[in-house]
């Protein structure tokens, strides 16, 4: 039985198992033309490190991956293939990645790049829980891209689906187009909105919101949250594999803070990389494979 692509803006918590399942026929993918925009901004920066301290045969996987990242950065941007691998056996459902991402990218209420879903399976006493982090899949055939009327969202040369905040008109077509619900809209809110402002008697909202308004570094640009219209307010927002950190030779924020070490990141074109090894595992899968979106996020189950 053919299934319609899931175009709902949110995945119900209980729905993720369905997503995981590979049942049903794949949808015709032809309407999602592969996109390759020439103006992609590669992740270039200034890795200070020629090698990462502590690198060695028994080093923390974070150190190994950071070391591999430096190797990847020596290549032409188009020669590297960033992928993320999430080992669901290791995900402990702590949501550290979710919050690290919020903090790193200064995401306001309603904007989440990487939720973690928690699902109970089974009947007492034979019961377990599964946790599923869901970043942007950075599809190689991204359904979100062709629907953008102003070409504000595109796949950059390294394969990361990015948004040009200065081009985005906030129409939100892409939000509906994404089968993974990976896009959300920035309404310009702050987490401290509505808190008390009494200056002098308590800290008050105006002092407390400093960390929220401080500039983020998405796409290697500093954007403070000021006023109500300045980007990224009024834009659609999504995970970008922390391109600004990659440029510095640093792993995405979700990856470095993953306390279960369930998240792996790197250049799949590097045959000696950890991720290249992992995506060749027999237990690898991708979400909604049947949609033909060719995600660059892999799951180990």
């Amino acid at each position: 039985m053919a299934e319609e692509p899931n175009t709902q803006p949110s995945v119900s918590r209980k729905g993720f198992l369905k997503i995981l399942g590979v049942g049903g026929a794949a949808l015709a993918i032809n309407r999602f033309a592969p996109v390759s925009k020439a103006r992609a901004k590669p992740s270039v920066g200034s890795p200070a490190l020629s090698t990462v301290p502590g690198v060695g045969p028994n080093s923390d996987v974070l150190i190994r991956m950071q070391d591999e990242l430096l190797r990847a950065l020596e290549k032409q941007p188009s020669e590297r293939r960033w992928v993320m691998v999430i080992d669901l056996r290791k995900c402990i459902g702590c949501s550290a990645c979710t919050i690290a991402c919020v903090a790193e990218n200064k995401l306001p209420p309603g904007v989440v790049y990487r939720p973690v879903m928690d699902q109970e399976i089974g009947t007492y006493p034979n019961v377990t829980r599964k946790f599923l982090p869901r970043p942007c899949m950075q599809c190689d055939i991204p359904p979100c891209v062709p629907v953008c009327p102003v070409n504000a969202t595109y796949k950059n040369e390294e394969g990361v689906v990015v948004i040009d905040y200065d081009q985005c008109i906030g129409c939100r077509y892409c939000i509906t187009a994404c089968p993974y619900s990976a896009r959300t809209f920035d309404f310009g809110e702050l987490y401290t909105d509505g808190t008390a402002e009494v200056e002098g008697l308590i800290v008050g909202q105006k002092t407390a919101d400093q960390y929220e308004r401080a500039a983020n570094f998405e796409y290697q640009e500093e954007r403070e949250r000021i006023g109500h219209n300045a980007s990224p307010i009024g834009n659609v927002r999504k995970c970008h594999f922390c391109l600004h950190r990659l440029a510095e030779g640093m792993l995405p924020a979700c990856t470095t803070t993953c306390v279960g070490r369930a998240t792996f990141f790197g250049d799949a074109n590097d045959p000696n990389s950890l991720v290249a090894d992992l995506i060749a595992s027999p237990n690898v899968m991708r979400l909604k494979e049947e949609l033909g979106t060719e995600p660059r996020v892999y799951y180990l189950v």
């Binding site: 103006r39 590669p42 950071q66 919050i99 987490y191 008390a196 919101d209 440029a247 993953c258 279960g260």
Partner: protein, 1097 residues
């Protein structure tokens, strides 16, 4: 900036033609403009075709794109306090504002292996470890709109808890607290000076000695005579005592009590210096029993040493599993993915081990925790029967001979060493039985004429001697005398493990292991399993697996084991199980924590903090919580008629301390004496303690507690009842030395240090500017009281003590020096670049907080660059490779593990007068303090327990909006079968009621009642008959409700008070009447032994 390193490797003349031009162009254009132009002009292809290094160079000529957070100029390494796991953090700053927090790569908590300590600081800018969601959200604790910034005083004419506050000048508040007066229009309030009575420490010491004699005298007449003699001897000073008829209560100074919640090193030294050494009160109490009290105090009993003829020197500590190296772990009442010291360090070790097939683990927990979800086996045990389960495993292991016989046979150190083990137990020691066959004390060699007592110099005072009496074991049936601590190989004694009812001289004896085996055989495995509500086959499988991995197996236990009325014996049973395989100090087995000494207690350290003191007081007397004291020795006991002695008015705790739930209720009953001033630091007993609502009745009565002063960062559930609230510095604004936890094998001392400019008001004390904080208050009170160990010359030979930095920097210097007397353990000097980065990162701190010249002067020229070295790294951490030696951990417990406890046996309950059992045996749960079952009837049909979600800490993260967005409210978690029976469906609103709170409310005694009501979450992952709620929700203060300061109404934020908090449903002890159920031995506050009813709300 690190960019330069890369640029310098690329000579400019290597750049292709044309690049120069674009660079110049970019100087006058923003990066975005540049990109637009180059795209429009088709220049992108050329741009993209550049060598990556050159692109990098290009990108970096544009200042705007520099990732400032990757620069050490914008980073300070410190220690988290979002929970108590104390993960190392890297705080990233922009213009002095903390904007992002990650893991400190030098800290073993966040990276494994962590970076070697000598890794050049400059190389760490872009390296970071993992921290949990709370750690990530720490910014929101610091930049909390509801943080208080000025001293708040209860408005005159309003009652405690009415949330009407006025701001008062700092100095005025100190003055009022010291001098008292009619402060609230309710009549006279005693100030501290009134209780600052006994100030001559010579007199205090003499009195303490005399009191000791009185307490030690068992004969009633002689005791009375000693009392009379005391009154004569100290006639001139009797007015300085609380009660001359009860000199054991100590001086009036004891009527000032300091109680704390979360307290770490440095601040603890500060408080001790003020309260004990300066003011002379014995009443300084922590909160241990609300956390995992009986874990600590069973640990203390198990680590007591036989010294100078008595059992003493036990460490208040516990063991955890070295799970990184374990092959099999049983987690009992512990969820390392959600708590348990803790997620960042342990989770990856567990997930990696499981995925690699190197680790198997089982979880014993009524709730399917996140840890249980990934476990090999989940055993949803009936709460309170944890000890029974351990005894079932013990029984199987003994019955099947699966214990480590060579480990257990070692009667002394020499034998342990011979077998290659760092620890040993009393397993083969002989214990005397009483006429009923009950085990009592160890048999001594002189008692059966085996060996004479020996005169030995005392360890505590080598000038004195004592008579050492050898212990006895059987070796192949022959009695052999031994010294437990003998080290010489020829003194090694390996004894018979099972000795049953052997008559030696006039004594019937058993071996300790026999006693334990007998306790385990009180029931069959099937009977034990029935008690636990588990399958016997599962228990056998677990026991088999547990004994299949040599020393690389362990049972790692936590709150779920200890916070029961039978907590002490539950813990003892599980630790005894570990002892059967002798896994202590082994990689993959049970380990203890290890810390570098910051207080200068090691020889050679430059600043011995405790002795750098002038005019030290000598506090003495029974504490308000009656810890470390025997009821039967007290004058209360001897003054009572014999038939009125039992049960005592309240319990006494000879084996425990820091009994949180006893502090305020004891003050409420003035037992053993009345208290005048209570200070509460970083604690919220009303919110945190089971049955905490009962405390409100006491706190709102100024007759019971005349003055209540708190330190807090918001107006919390307990500080709302205070007379004064001092705003404290948050964890990114202050100092602390964070010690460690037994999950960490490495020797460490993480430092918490000022990272941002404090948001609280600045004040002046001793002529120095400083932020209002715990330290400023104590310094200020000391100045007013004239305490000699503060101010000019307060540090004795060490100099002045007029600012917190005077103490804390010296402590850092101690860490920098290390622990070797010859200085060979000293850290290197920070190099010039490190020194520059250190100052640069702190340039936004005010001089009152950071002043390099002042700091340098405190520690001296030579130590200064070493201090910087330590501070840059966020503390001192042993290298990973040094944490292990062969198959053992390097930092060993390395001594006798008391599986049979003569000292515990020697304690008589203050409630029943009966001796305690000194070994692991099953005591049923749900008993009141006198030992009677608490039976509330069939209508209360659900057992209430609690759990932790990783996104909240007990009482202090509800203002973290990122976290409340993740989980806006908690719920009553219930099995589907219970829900069906009660006609409830997921999301229904219910209320929790219990026999001691039939209304199901928090009565705030200010006209407000808060219902313990919330949503039901129906799951399969919960034992039927048990319900749970996550701690950290259901607040009723903490910025979540309206309050008034200087007449201005401040609106609370409803996001902070969502969900429910059912502690007020937890059973009030029927005998005590104002306190939660307790573990009368280990002191635990009991969270898991209440029966409740769930009703639709």
């Amino acid at each position: 900036m690190t960019d330069k390193t890369l640029l310098s490797t690329q000579p400019a003349d290597d750049m292709p033609d044309g690049i120069e031009e674009r660079s110049i162009q970019k100087n006058s254009l923003s990066r975005r403009d540049f990109l637009k132009i180059s795209t429009a002009a088709g220049g992108a292809a050329a741009f993209l075709g550049l060598l990556p290094q050159v692109s990098a160079a290009l990108a970096n000529t544009d200042d705007q794109t520099a990732y400032a957070l990757a620069q050490l100029e914008n980073q300070i390494y410190s220690t988290c306090l979002q929970c108590n796991t104390v993960c190392g953090i890297k705080v990233k700053l922009r213009d002095g504002v903390a904007v992002k927090i990650d893991g400190n790569p030098y800290s073993p908590w966040t990276l494994s292996p962590h970076l070697n300590y000598n890794t050049p600081f400059a190389e760490t800018a872009k390296v970071e470890g993992g921290i949990c969601p709370k750690g990530q959200a720490g910014l929101q604790t610091v930049y909390d709109p509801y943080r208080i910034v000025k001293v708040l005083k209860r408005k005159s004419g309003t009652k405690r808890g009415e949330n009407q506050w006025v701001t008062v000048p700092f100095d005025q508040a100190l003055q009022e607290i010291v001098e008292g007066g009619d402060l609230f229009g309710e009549g006279n309030v005693p100030g501290l000076r009134e209780s600052f009575a006994l100030t001559d420490s010579k007199v205090a010491k003499a009195m303490a000695d005399a009191v000791k004699k009185i307490l030690g005298e068992k004969d009633a007449d002689k005791k009375a005579a000693l009392l009379a003699e005391f009154k004569t001897t100290f006639a001139a000073d009797l007015d300085k005592l609380i009660d001359a008829d009860h000199p054991d209560f100590g001086p009036k100074n004891n009527q000032v009590v300091f109680n704390w919640g979360r307290l770490k090193g440095g601040r603890s030294d500060f408080i001790n210096r003020f309260m004990r050494d300066g003011f002379g009160t014995t009443n300084t109490h922590g909160h241990t029993t609300v956390c995992q009290g009986s874990l600590y105090f069973t640990g203390k009993a198990m680590s007591e040493k036989y010294e100078d003829g008595k059992w003493t020197g036990g460490d208040k500590f516990y063991w955890q599993g070295d799970v990184r190296n374990s092959e099999f772990v049983i987690f009992v009442g512990a969820s390392p993915f959600e708590g348990n010291y803790g997620p960042p360090w342990r989770s990856s070790a567990i997930t990696q081990g499981v995925v690699d097939g190197a680790l198997k683990y089982a979880v014993v927990d009524p709730r399917l925790s996140k840890t249980a979800a990934k476990a090999w086996k989940w055993l949803p045990i009936r709460p309170g029967t944890e000890g029974a389960m351990a005894l079932a495993l013990i029984r199987w292991i003994i019955d099947n001979g699966r214990y480590d016989a060579s480990y257990l046979a070692a009667a002394n150190k020499a034998a342990a060493t011979k077998a290659g083990n760092p620890t040993w137990t009393e397993a083969p020691w002989l214990v005397k039985l009483d006429k009923d066959g009950k085990p009592t004390t160890f048999l001594r060699a002189s008692e059966i004429g085996l060996m004479e007592k020996e005169t030995r110099p005392m360890v505590s005072d080598p000038k004195k001697t004592y008579d050492f009496d050898y212990f006895v074991t059987l070796v192949d049936g022959i009695p052999v005398a031994f010294d437990p601590y003998a080290e010489e190989e020829d003194q090694a004694v390996a004894g018979d493990l099972f000795v049953e009812n052997v008559q030696l001289g006039e004594f019937m004896v058993k071996s300790s292991l026999q006693i334990i085996a007998d306790a385990a055989r009180e029931h069959t495995i099937e009977e034990w399993a029935d008690l636990c509500g588990l399958n016997a086959a599962d228990l056998v499988t677990l026991a088999q697996e547990f004994t299949n991995h040599g020393k690389k197996a362990c049972a790692d236990i936590h709150r779920g084991v200890s916070q029961h009325t039978n907590g002490f014996y539950n813990v003892l049973a599980w630790y005894t199980l570990n002892a059967l395989i002798g896994n202590f100090d082994y990689a993959g087995g049970m380990i203890k924590l290890s810390t570098y000494d910051a207080a200068g207690g090691k020889k050679g350290q430059p600043f011995p903090i405790a002795s750098l003191s002038t005019g030290k007081k000598a506090p003495f007397g029974t504490s308000i919580i009656r810890h470390d004291a025997k009821y039967q020795e007290s004058t209360i006991y001897s003054n009572l008629p014999e038939d009125k002695r039992y049960p005592a008015q309240r319990n006494w705790y000879p084996l425990a301390s820091d009994i949180y739930q006893e502090v305020i209720p004891s003050i409420g009953e003035a037992y053993p004496y009345a208290v005048k001033n209570l200070f509460l630091y970083m604690g919220s007993p009303v919110y945190s303690l089971p049955a905490g609502h009962k405390l409100i009745e006491i706190l709102t009565d100024p007759k019971k507690l005349p003055m209540f002063v708190t330190f807090d960062i918001t107006i919390g559930e307990t500080s709302m009842y205070a007379d004064y609230i001092f705003p404290d510095t948050s964890y990114l604004e202050r100092w602390e030395f964070n010690g460690s936890h037994p999950s960490i094998p490495f020797k460490v001392q993480g430092i918490r240090q000022p990272v941002i400019a404090p948001l609280v008001e600045e004040v002046n004390v001793f002529g120095q500017a400083m932020p209002i904080s715990l330290e400023a208050v104590l310094l200020g009170l000391a100045e007013k009281l004239g305490l000699k160990n503060f101010g000019k010359g307060g540090l004795g030979d060490g100099g002045d003590f007029t600012h917190q930095d005077d103490l804390y920097l010296r402590m850092v210097a101690n860490l920098a020096f290390g622990e070797k007397e010859d200085g060979s353990d000293t850290v290197p000097d920070a190099d010039a670049e490190e020194m520059r980065l250190f100052e640069e990162a702190r340039k936004y701190l005010p001089k009152s907080v950071f002043d390099p010249a002042r700091w340098k002067a405190i520690v001296g020229e030579a130590l200064w660059p070493k201090v910087v070295y330590v501070l840059n790294r966020g503390g001192r951490f042993q290298d990973f490779a040094k944490g292990y030696k062969g198959n053992q951990v390097a930092n060993k417990y390395g001594r006798l593990v008391n599986i049979y406890q003569e000292k515990t046996y020697g304690v008589k309950s203050a409630m029943t007068g009966k001796n305690l059992a000194g070994y692991a045996r099953y005591i049923p749960p749900q008993l009141d303090v006198t030992g009677k079952p608490v039976e509330d009837g069939a209508e209360y049909d659900l057992r209430l327990i609690t759990h932790r979600e990783i996104m909240q800490t007990k009482s202090r993260t509800s203002g973290n909006y990122w976290l409340t967005a993740l989980l806006p409210e908690n719920a009553v978690v219930m099995n589907g079968s219970d829900a069906q029976r009660l006609g409830l469906k997921d999301g229904d609103r219910v209320k929790i009621v219990s026999a001691s709170n039939p209304e199901g409310v928090w009565d705030l005694h200010n006209g407000t009642k808060v219902a313990m009501a919330g949503k039901v979450k129906v799951v399969q992952g919960m034992r039927p008959g048990v319900i749970s709620f996550a701690l950290g929700f259901g607040h009723f203060a903490y910025g979540g409700v309206d309050f008034f300061i200087d007449g201005e109404q401040i609106k609370g934020d409803p996001r902070r008070v969502r969900g429910l908090h059912c502690n007020a449903a937890m059973r009030v002890d029927p005998y005590l009447g104002n306190t939660t159920l307790v573990d009368p031995v280990g002191g635990s506050a009991v969270f898991y032994d209440t029966m409740v009813k769930v009703v639709k709300a």
